[in-house]
Symmetry: C2
Subunit: 631 residues, 2 copies
């Protein structure tokens, strides 16, 4: 067995960030700074140098950032990813003979044993790199200027490089936005009149005033009539029941058509434009299942699974059957690739109408290779399209969907209520590698989830959950009604009575109790404080009350918030919080300047421990912007 | 962009054990059981099945072990690696339509909605797999027997597989052995007479009686005369000074020659045989550096770095110079590959003489690609050769040497003295992935390390360090003199006065104080208790004294030891230990049978908390073998 003497002599390993050894890209948003680190070392004591080389997919040019040694063989370089789309990067390292010469000669000089002959190696390196005229006296050789020139132009030996790694850069809204969900048909203000896009346009000022920036609509397509579901998910619909918008497709058309009662495509485009004027972006639903009336059953029966007796196979999860829904068969011979292309074309169609955010219904019940390809295909043309994964399923599938391309993901947040649950879930979400591929979107409720906690928590409970969702991550979402403290359940179930999935509702947007003012304040605080505009930058802090979640949020630009949220909606919570004075090098008896952002009060805190009372009948949480009292 | 509809539908990820995404093998010893786990899942709710497929490098046949679902999409299979050498394995998974049929039909039957027609799918699957005669009534279809037959013979759809991973299986001594180190020239019993291999043979019964099973000898080759070092590392040797055996090579020969005063090659082979008869295996030193008199400087000047003035470049670490040592240049043009092959041939030469363990001196100052190739080359012919890395350097280099092939490694153990240090170091070493590639060898001392702790700790200190090393891992080592409580330092330094590296010593093996009896007992306990024969199977337990390390050692076969070691050699330590009764499901007021293995006493412990007094003047540690009192 012969040796490979040219095998890399320098080790480059544990390059971060990376996901599954580079099998999937690391996610960032445009404008973020990326810190690439690697363990770099080699045999012996010769000096190494290293750099990160990166390139954007649409750019022919490599960029180079020198790495610096942190400690313990760990090197780092930082750079900003300015553009959306994919970047690739790798780490390279080499022996730097001139740096070794400088280190060796300096050590000898310091010990008083340097001789003129010891300069020869450095002189030869400089003359070879910079020409025979270069100054080579001892002072010039060891100068900062010469080291810089030689770092750039000197010889590099045993150059090694890591594998390529990929960064998937989304626009900022991928990491920071505030969603509001409505059923367009419920926007007329009259439960007996089907709302349309103009009714939605009329609601835009109200929604924008609350500070939301994404308006998410469930499917807007024609709704099937065969086996249509009635109110409260009844097996049979009454004659006036509108049906579930998730039973997609009727004689009026399928996934690229609009339900006639909502309006026309031009109406919809008017809505998109009006929303944009109001600072709102429209997010559409992409739900693949078909109603039995969907045109595809007629036009493309070969994309569906048929029984031996010629009947269609309805969706089922034995023993349950879903007779209003038919699933396409991704692996029917005729489906590959015709069905896949047709589904991609649906998304492309709506992207062409100006939609840049898709909320995807139940992606975990469709093949992963489909999503991986479809999202890459759409984003190869429009880097700024975002996909939200609605996969309420087992954790590894949820993470995998994020790895293969989903920009954001629904989470278990709605079922995390205690301090231990919230801290451990946040620690999981903000630890590598999860934080590098999974963007958790904290919805306080959805049309399918009327959380048990809210059913009995009263107004204080809504304030608690709003404060948690709005401050724990950069992405939060509210389904219409939450701000009005709507919580009436189907008894014993986590569902809304009179669910809008099956009937048209009329909402009184001024009814009491409500938390509209507080949601408006939360969204304003989010916009004004960079610390709340991303997932990372969170630290749970000590306090002496297990019913109080107390944490620090911070961003690179020095914005720091301290946040204390009671988790108990029925009683006052007294808590002694510990101010992290040491983060600013302030002694335990020092001062911290604080602004109470929900109450618009400024004051000075003296000393490390501070008593706080959280009042469920007024506001069960506090958000303080803090900074050192003496600057 | 066209989709790849054939891309794997089933996800297989997070396969463990693995090291750096499969870049390096996982280490095990022959006879060990390996638990392979993986996350396996796919879209939808159809049933999956999975298996591990493995194969030994010398075997043409694959073996298959079915995996079982643990929980949360995590699957596992266990198998035993019986042979030394490399195994490869991979994980494979598939949709199991018959299992899905059984699950779906059973759900319908339980809900009382199963119809005869619902059997059709299962019947078709059975007939296709087992023939038209197979029984297909409902009872037969759902029977345990049918499920087993169909699991083996039924259809498998969407079969996916992981990448290949590698297991490097060493013989048992790689993970469990007790080393003793001597300088052969010091074995005559008379400091004025150079010892030889027959003197070593005379010492074998004494060493074997203590229970050691590896006898490690520093280099046995001719020693250079040019710039030879004197006693206590003096710059110039006196006329009778024997020199450091690490200055290898003289006119009598180089790395394949034997220092004439030690004996001849036949003498050495007699030593190997006599050691084997005594239950001892000889480990040799492989130190690449050359004395200036090494024959290679004359025969292969092209393998060394020469100065412009024609002089040789001595080893240096500026400002220090090592004028008794010359380093080969692995990357001189003529060295590639001639020098690499010549070095490999040295190891191969000693392997041919019967040596199966090499302790490698300072591997971190030689190129990693050399070690990776050399070790693989030697082990491709002799799977049972072991290499111990003596790299006292930064942690990542130490770990990398283990990854690329070293079987065992020296550690920082000698500098870990406090409870916090020992617990955190053990937690690092026993956590994945470190435990899967790095086998820590705990030497209590070496010719280069006279630990500060021992210099002032007295006999109790030697007992403490022996107990720690002998019980914390499967590998421990003693350099001659430790058992005699030898600790005289070069003042202020961590070195031995009168170091055997530079002079011949005579040892009185009966001198007092000594801990020969205790070392003998420790080695006997190690041999009799599987719990002490590996690195893993350790849990630190609660006790109320920060000067006491208290832990549980356990093995798969039910052998359980509780061990309490005082870390304070000068005073009694009273401690309340907590018995882990819950490990056996015993209530807090229950009983545990205990054998005090160092004192040969049996008793019953009643209740969870037990007071213990550790006496430095007698024995500052306890080892109890425990089991439930009622079986």
């Amino acid at each position: 067995m012969m040796p490979d003497c040219r095998a890399p002599r320098i080790v480059i390993e544990q390059v971060t960030p990376q996901v599954d050894a580079g099998a999937f890209p690391v996610k960032r948003v445009a404008g973020e700074s990326l810190a690439v680190q690697a363990d770099i070392f080699a045999d012996g004591h010769d000096k190494l140098a290293a750099a990160v080389i990166f390139r954007h997919q649409d750019d022919g040019e490599d960029s180079t950032v020198p790495m610096v040694l942190l400690n313990n063989d760990r090197w780092e370089a930082r750079f900003t990813v300015a553009l959306t789309g994919f970047y690739t990067f790798y780490v390279t390292a080499w022996f730097d003979p001139f740096a070794s010469f400088v280190a060796d000669y300096s050590a000898k000089a310091k010990a008083g044993v340097a001789k003129a002959a010891d300069l020869a190696e450095g002189q030869a390196l400089v003359r070879a790199a910079l020409g025979a005229d270069a100054p080579v006296d001892a002072q010039s050789l060891l100068s900062v200027e010469m080291r810089a020139r030689m770092a750039a132009s000197g010889p590099r030996r045993f150059v090694a490089r890591s594998a390529d790694l990929t960064i998937d850069v989304d626009r900022e809204a991928a990491g920071f936005s505030s969603w509001y969900e409505i059923f367009p048909r419920s926007q007329s203000g009259d439960a007996s009149r089907h709302g349309n896009f103009d009714d939605v346009i009329a609601q835009l000022p109200r929604i924008a005033r609350m500070g939301f920036d994404v308006l998410y609509l469930p499917p807007i397509h024609p709704i099937g009539r065969t086996n249509r579901k009635g109110r409260n998910n009844a097996l049979r619909a009454g004659p006036d029941d509108p049906g579930s918008p998730y039973a997609i497709g009727a004689e009026e058309g399928g996934h690229t058509a609009i339900h006639p009662e909502l309006g026309t495509l031009p109406d919809f485009k008017r809505l998109i434009a009006a929303a944009a004027d109001a600072g709102l972006e429209i997010a559409l639903d992409f739900a693949i299942q078909c109603a039995p009336d969907h045109p595809w059953l007629r036009e493309h029966p070969e994309w569906f699974a048929w029984q031996a007796d010629g009947s269609i196979k309805y969706a089922e999860n034995p023993p349950k059957k879903y007779e209003d829904i038919v699933n396409v068969d991704f692996y029917a011979p005729a489906s590959m690739p015709a069905l896949w292309l047709a589904l991609r074309d649906i998304v492309a169609f709506w992207a062409d109408q100006g939609i840049r955010i898709f909320r995807v219904d139940n992606p975990h019940t469709k093949p992963l290779p489909f999503w991986e390809w479809m999202i890459a295909d759409i984003r190869s043309r429009n880097h700024d399209v975002l996909f939200l994964s609605e996969a309420f399923t087992r954790p590894k599938m949820m993470y995998r969907l994020a790895k293969i391309g989903f920009s954001q993901s629904y989470t278990y947040f709605t079922w995390r209520n205690t301090k231990l649950e919230l801290e451990s879930y946040m620690n999981e979400l903000t630890s590598a590698p999860v934080r590098d591929f999974f963007r958790p979107h904290f919805f306080v409720n959805t049309p399918d989830i009327n959380p048990y906690f809210l059913q009995s928590a009263g107004r204080a409970g809504f304030l608690i959950r709003a404060a948690l969702a709005a401050t724990l991550t950069g992405l939060w979402g509210v389904y219409n009604g939450f701000e009005l403290c709507e919580a009436e359940p189907v008894p014993g179930r986590e569902e809304y009575m009179g669910s809008e999935k099956y009937e048209i509702r009329a909402w009184d947007h001024e009814r009491e109790p409500n938390i509209i003012k507080e949601i408006t304040a939360l969204n304003a605080i989010r916009r004004e404080n960079a610390a709340l505009q991303h997932l990372t930058g969170i630290e749970f802090l000590p306090c002496n009350n297990a019913q109080v979640l107390y944490f620090r949020r911070f961003s690179d630009d020095g914005n720091v918030l301290l946040i204390a949220i009671s988790l108990e909606p029925h009683s006052f919570q007294d808590v002694m919080i510990e101010l992290p004075l040491w983060r600013w090098g302030i002694a335990d008896d020092g001062d911290l300047k604080a602004e109470d952002l929900m109450r618009d009060e400024n004051f000075i805190w003296h000393g490390k421990y501070q008593p706080v009372r959280l009042n469920p009948f007024e506001m069960p949480f506090c958000i303080w912007r803090v900074s050192p009292a003496q600057v």
